[in-house]
Amino acid sequence: MSPPDTGDRPPGAAAGPSSQSGLAAALTPVLTVAVSLLGLCLLWGLAARAWPSRAFPGPGQVWQVLLAEAANGDLFYHLGATLGRVAAAYVVAMVVGSVIGVLLGSHRSADRFFAPWVVLFLNIPALVVIVLAYIWFGLNEAAAIGAVAVNKIPNVVVTMREGARALDPSYAEMAAVYRFGLLDRIRHVLLPQLQPYLAAASRSGIALIWKIVLVVELLGRSNGVGFQIYLYFQLFDVAAILAYTLAFVAVMLVIELLVVQPVERHATRWRRRPA
């Protein structure tokens, strides 16, 4: 592979500096994140040592609680319950919000009529929607998931409306001339054009949804991370509160790395190869 050695380079360097620097470039961000998180833990540990209090446990104590909760199975049961609600609310919000957003974005008169509704729903506090949903529909799973979805839908609508406004009509015209079927139009013409907007709505959506799910669980469910946090709030057990919070944040991080990013890479594969 390498050209005949001229002799003025050490043998290691002849192997190809590009592959070495490539590996380093790939590792640097991971290392940076690891060092950064370690630094945060260290700072937290030092602070906990400086101000010792039951209300401010150090990272070691939180880790112990985490292990105990994992060992007796509670952690996974409650994480699972919350994750299920997050997933359900996410799917409902994305589907309903996308359909409404695309319709508003492609029908100007409908948009003019419904735009005030969107603004209204955008500004209703999450707590009000949750309380009303529980009063009207009872303390059940459907009311909980519906309330979370209703909180998220206006955001999705606004993003997807922008996406629909940015659709290129020439693709739709090509599809009309060549008589694409409805499913082909959605799958091959509409969704790929909306992909950046879907990705943006998903990203901001997941983060918002899981925070609202905790409130929903706190107010009217008997399992889930939100319920556990409320329980330990009454016991003033800060270590357990932090343990559950960090566990769920970790789960969301894993989902981001193992699901969201690969899906996004697949969806934009046609973009990355240079011309």
Partner: protein, 246 residues
Amino acid sequence: MQPVGAAVPLRVDIAEKTFRSAQGVSITALQDLSFEVRQGEFACLLGPSGCGKTTTLRILLGLDKDFSGSFQLPEGGSDRIAAVFQEPVLLPWRTVEQNVRLALPKSLRTKNLDGLFDTLGLAGMRSLYPAELSLGLARRAALARAFATEPAVLFLDEPFASLDERTAERLRHLLLTVWSARPTTALMVTHNLREALMLSDRIIVLAQRPAHVLGMFDVRLPRHYRNPQVMSDLLRSFQQKFPGVA
């Protein structure tokens, strides 16, 4: 190769097409535009730019329904239409081959396209994305898509505009090759007289806006006789018949 349609011509009879601007100003783009393209004939719609050629094509493609008048598309074999637009309009997120196959009716989705891709010089590029193609190659892919559908009528809207002359010339020859293999009723919009003389059986000359037919110019000579000498003779006789056009 296959029998293509019955002897129904492409018949166009547009009484009027008017655009209304947001300020309420109305512009008549087409008025009393009527012509016919015979079965299996390659016709060119020639006219100054901005005279309403593309508007006519959009009406025939069914993309603009706000006009008065009527038109009849050739029928038979298939009732499908195909179009090559001013821009290639390939879906950037699908490969060249997927772009072509998506345009096919379900019954033809799996048909063998090797011959077509070979003729158009796209054999090695079926799995590339449109962003990886040059403009000339993207236009070849657009041609492949149009011909793969085996349409009853083919519309081309200045398909070789914005290409350098050498590439355009090569593509014109490729177009003739694939068209000759399966002569389809075709209507091509162009403002390039040489291109029209080289490709078509009949040139429909349009007047300035509002567009209507100024006259017809039939090129009866088989295409392989149209060498540079003959072309300049054709050019001269065209200019005698239509002084001041092009």
